[in-house]
C-alpha cells in the first residue's frame, strides 16, 4: 500500500516523493501518557469505564441539572472575560491590543514532576508536654521547705522560751526585790555587773554629747588652778592660751 502511494506521488510530483516523511512537529513531553486521562476527565467519565459499561443508576436523574450547571458556569466565564476585555479596552486600547501571551517558560515536565516536600512531621505535629518533674524531686523540694520552716520555728520558739524564762525569773523575784532597799541593789550591781544583762555605762552618752570630753574631765577644776598649771608648764616659745 505504502509503495502504491509513493509511486502515485512520483507520478504527480517526483520532487515531493524524494522528501522523507519524517515528522518535524514536536509534542510536549509525556503528552501521550496523559492525553487519555485528560480526554476522559473532560468528558466526565471515570477512566475505568472505557469498555462501555452502563452508567450509574441515578445518572440520568441528575443529568439535566449537571448540563444546566455547566452551561451556566461557562456563561459566567464568558461574561467575566468580556467584562475584563471591555474594561481594559475602555481604559487603554493600547494595552488591550497586546496579545495575552505567556512569555515566560518553565523547565520541561515541571508541572508533571511537581512535588511538595511535606515535612515528615506533617502527619500532625506532636504536642509534647513539658516533662513533668519526677515525684522524688517534688518530695525532696517539699521536704527541704518543711525542714527550713521547722528549724526556723524551733529557733524562734527557743528564743521565745528564753525571753519567757527571763520574764518568769524577774516576776518571780519582783516581790522579794520590793523588800530590798535601793542602795543594796545599787551596791550589788556595782560589785557584780558581769552577772547582769545590762552593762552599766562608764560615761553617760547624753553627757558626752553635750560637751567635749576635756570639758567633762576639767569640770571640777577651777579656772585659777588651770591658769596656774598652764603658767608653770608653759614652753618658752608658746603664747598664752586663753580659754579652752
Amino acid at each position: 500500500m505504502r509503495n502504491e502511494i509513493r509511486d502515485e506521488l512520483k507520478e504527480i510530483a517526483a520532487s515531493l516523493a524524494n522528501i522523507g516523511n519524517e515528522n518535524c512537529y514536536r509534542v510536549p513531553d509525556n503528552y501521550f501518557e496523559d492525553v487519555a486521562g485528560e480526554v476522559m476527565s473532560k468528558i466526565q467519565l471515570p477512566f475505568t469505564q472505557l469498555p462501555l459499561t452502563p452508567p450509574a443508576p441515578d445518572y440520568f436523574d441528575g443529568l439535566a441539572g449537571t448540563i444546566l450547571n455547566k452551561i451556566k458556569s461557562n456563561g459566567t466565564i464568558v461574561e467575566a472575560n468580556n467584562e475584563v476585555t471591555s474594561e481594559l479596552t475602555e481604559l487603554s486600547p493600547l494595552v488591550a491590543g497586546i496579545k495575552k501571551e505567556n512569555v515566560y517558560t518553565v523547565p520541561a515536565d515541571y508541572f508533571a514532576n511537581f512535588k511538595v516536600n511535606v515535612p515528615a512531621t506533617a502527619e500532625k505535629t506532636k504536642v509534647v508536654a513539658m516533662r513533668p518533674t519526677t515525684h522524688w524531686a517534688r518530695y525532696a523540694a517539699a521536704a527541704v521547705i518543711v525542714g527550713v520552716i521547722a528549724i526556723s520555728g524551733m529557733f524562734l520558739l527557743k528564743n521565745d522560751t528564753a525571753i519567757n524564762d527571763t520574764a518568769v525569773t524577774i516576776t518571780k523575784y519582783i516581790p522579794s526585790l520590793s523588800s530590798v532597799s535601793d542602795n543594796a541593789i545599787a551596791s550589788y550591781l556595782k560589785e557584780s555587773p558581769a552577772n547582769m544583762d545590762i552593762v552599766l555605762p562608764v560615761y553617760d552618752d547624753s553627757k558626752i554629747n553635750a560637751g567635749s570630753l576635756t570639758e567633762q574631765l576639767l569640770q571640777d577644776v577651777s579656772d585659777s588652778d588651770i591658769q596656774e598649771y598652764l603658767q608653770e608648764n608653759q614652753q618658752p616659745g608658746e603664747k598664752d592660751i586663753k580659754g579652752i
Binding site: L91, S92, N102, Y104, V106, V116
Partner: protein, 181 residues
C-alpha cells in the same frame, strides 16, 4: 477523575485519604498558582520556592479551613501573601529600596532566555515590574486570571472600589511606560 473542592476537603479530613486528596488539590491548582506567583517574583526558582512553601502552609492550615470562602480564593490569598512576603524578605536582605527591587525584577525579565526587547509582550512584562507590589498583584489577577473584583476583594482583603481604582492606575502606568519606550 476530578473531584470538586468540597469532596477533596472531605477526603483530606480523613487520615486514610488525606495525602491522596492533597495531591489532587496540588494537581488541580498548581499551574494557576505557579503562574500567579511567577508573574510576581519573575524568576522560576524563586517561584518554585514560594509555591512549595505555600503548599506546605496549606497542608498545615487546611484542617482549620472553615469553608467560609472558596478553596480557590483561599489558595490565591496564600499565594499572594507568600509572594509579597518573599519580595519583602528580598528587599530586607539586600537592604535596598523598593525601586531597586523593582529594577532587579526588570533585570530578571531581561535575563530570561526568551527575552526580546522589541516584542510588545515583553515590554508589557517590563511595564508590570514597574508597578508597586500590591498594584502588580491587582493587575495580574485581573488581566491574566480574569478574576471578578468581588472575588479579588476576598483574595486581597480590599474593597472592590479600591481594587477598581488600583487596576485603573496600573493600566494607565503600563500604557505610559510602553508609549515612552
Amino acid at each position: 477523575m476530578h473531584l470538586d473542592d468540597q469532596e477533596l476537603l472531605q477526603q483530606f479530613r480523613q487520615a486514610a485519604t488525606k495525602e491522596k486528596a492533597f495531591t489532587a488539590i496540588i494537581k488541580k491548582y498548581q499551574e494557576k498558582l505557579y503562574w500567579h506567583i511567577r508573574r510576581m517574583v519573575v524568576d522560576h526558582d524563586d517561584a518554585n520556592d514560594v509555591l512549595q512553601n505555600m503548599f506546605i502552609k496549606v497542608w498545615n492550615a487546611l484542617d482549620n479551613f472553615r469553608e467560609d470562602s472558596q478553596l480557590y480564593t483561599w489558595l490565591y490569598r496564600i499565594a499572594t501573601n507568600e509572594s509579597l512576603t518573599f519580595l519583602q524578605q528580598q528587599k530586607r536582605r539586600s537592604a535596598v529600596s523598593l525601586s531597586d527591587v523593582e529594577s532587579g525584577l526588570s533585570n530578571k525579565v531581561k535575563a530570561d532566555t526568551g527575552f526580546d526587547a522589541n516584542k510588545l509582550e515583553w515590554k508589557l512584562q517590563l511595564a508590570i515590574q514597574q508597578l508597586p507590589e500590591k498594584q502588580r498583584a491587582v493587575f495580574n489577577l485581573r488581566y491574566y486570571d480574569e478574576m471578578p473584583y468581588e472575588e479579588m476583594s476576598r483574595v486581597l482583603e480590599t474593597s472592590e472600589g479600591a481594587l477598581k481604582a488600583s487596576y485603573h492606575h496600573a493600566v494607565k502606568k503600563i500604557e505610559e511606560f510602553i508609549k515612552n519606550r
